[in-house]
């Protein structure tokens, strides 16, 4: 049960966060942080299909996470979801075409090792 929930969370989070990055890249940099401007940005984003799909995926991940929290410690549940780092960094390079320098790979690797130590 525990690991099935982890599987759902990892898959849904990875898909959701990559879609969110694609959607926000299409939207462009947010410059204006006044409430009215943020509201207008939100209205535009609610018609962005990548953002809508990402929110749906993250909602699925959220309910699986609630289920996981009933059976697992917080200091297990949070670190274990960092499995998404490996998948998302690879997708950032090949889908989002980001330049992932060796420093970023090294940083991601350190984080993954750290997360493994924390959750085992």
């Amino acid at each position: 049960m525990k690991w099935m929930m982890v599987g759902i969370i990892v898959a849904a989070t990875t898909v959701g966060e990559v879609l969110q990055a694609i959607g926000m890249r299409h939207h462009g940099e947010i410059h204006d942080f006044r409430p009215g401007a943020l509201g207008r940005a939100l209205a535009v984003l609610s018609r962005n299909r990548y953002v809508v799909a990402s929110v749906a995926a993250m909602a699925l991940s959220f309910f699986a996470y609630l289920e996981l929290l009933t059976v697992a410690e917080l200091s297990f549940a949070v670190p274990v979801t960092a499995i998404t780092y490996v998948l998302e960094t690879i997708l950032a390079k090949y889908v989002l075409r980001e330049r992932v320098s060796w420093l970023r790979w090294a940083g991601a690797l350190l984080v993954i090792c750290g997360v493994a130590l924390v959750s085992l």
């Binding site: 966060e17 990559v18 969110q20 990055a21 959607g23 926000m24 890249r25 299409h26 939207h27 462009g28 940099e29 947010i30 410059h31 207008r40 939100l42 535009v44 984003l45 018609r47 962005n48 929110v55 993250m58 959220f62 309910f63 609630l66 289920e67 929290l69 009933t70 059976v71 410690e73 917080l74 200091s75 549940a77 949070v78 670190p79 960092a82 780092y85 998302e88 960094t89 997708l91 950032a92 390079k93 989002l96 075409r97 980001e98 330049r99 320098s101 420093l103 970023r104 090294a106 940083g107 991601a108 690797l109 350190l110 984080v111 090792c113 750290g114 997360v115 493994a116 130590l117 924390v118």
Partner: protein, 140 residues
């Protein structure tokens, strides 16, 4: 460092701090408010009306919004390691407020995570791709 990259870095750091704090505090309230088990499908909805859980959910909505703002100008491969400082804070919150045990292995893991965060946030620029639709705010 020119003024454009200094501006971007300041904006990125303050937004990252909001992403991390809303996530850590939101997770704490979720864990605090969750019952020992969820019996039926309706429980998934009912649980959202517990005060601790609904406060946690509000903070996670703030987290989602802040993360979306951050992603509008920063790379995913940048913000993943940088916001992972939250894992350290979650461990500390679990130790101090939820009385969860933190072994030496967990502290070592926390040190690894902090090293990864320092490497990426100090050593690479937030954005490596060309910005699109600058300021227009309309999807392409």
């Amino acid at each position: 460092m020119n003024s454009e990259s200094a501006r971007l870095r300041w904006k990125t750091w303050s937004c990252s701090a909001l992403v991390v704090l809303s996530n850590v505090v939101g997770n704490f309230f979720l864990k605090r408010g969750m019952p020992a088990s969820l019996a039926g499908p309706e429980d998934y909805i009912l649980v959202l009306f517990r005060p601790m859980v609904s406060f946690g959910v509000l903070l996670l909505i703030l987290w989602l919004a802040a993360r979306m703002a951050l992603l509008s100008w920063a790379d995913l491969s940048y913000i993943l390691p940088v916001t992972s400082i939250g894992y350290v804070l979650v461990a500390i919150v679990g130790r101090l407020l939820l009385n969860e045990q933190i072994s030496n292995k967990r502290w070592l893991g926390i040190a690894f995570i902090m090293a990864g965060v320092a490497l990426v946030s100090g050593g690479t620029a937030p954005r490596t791709t060309k910005p699109q639709a600058r300021g227009a705010g309309v999807g392409q």
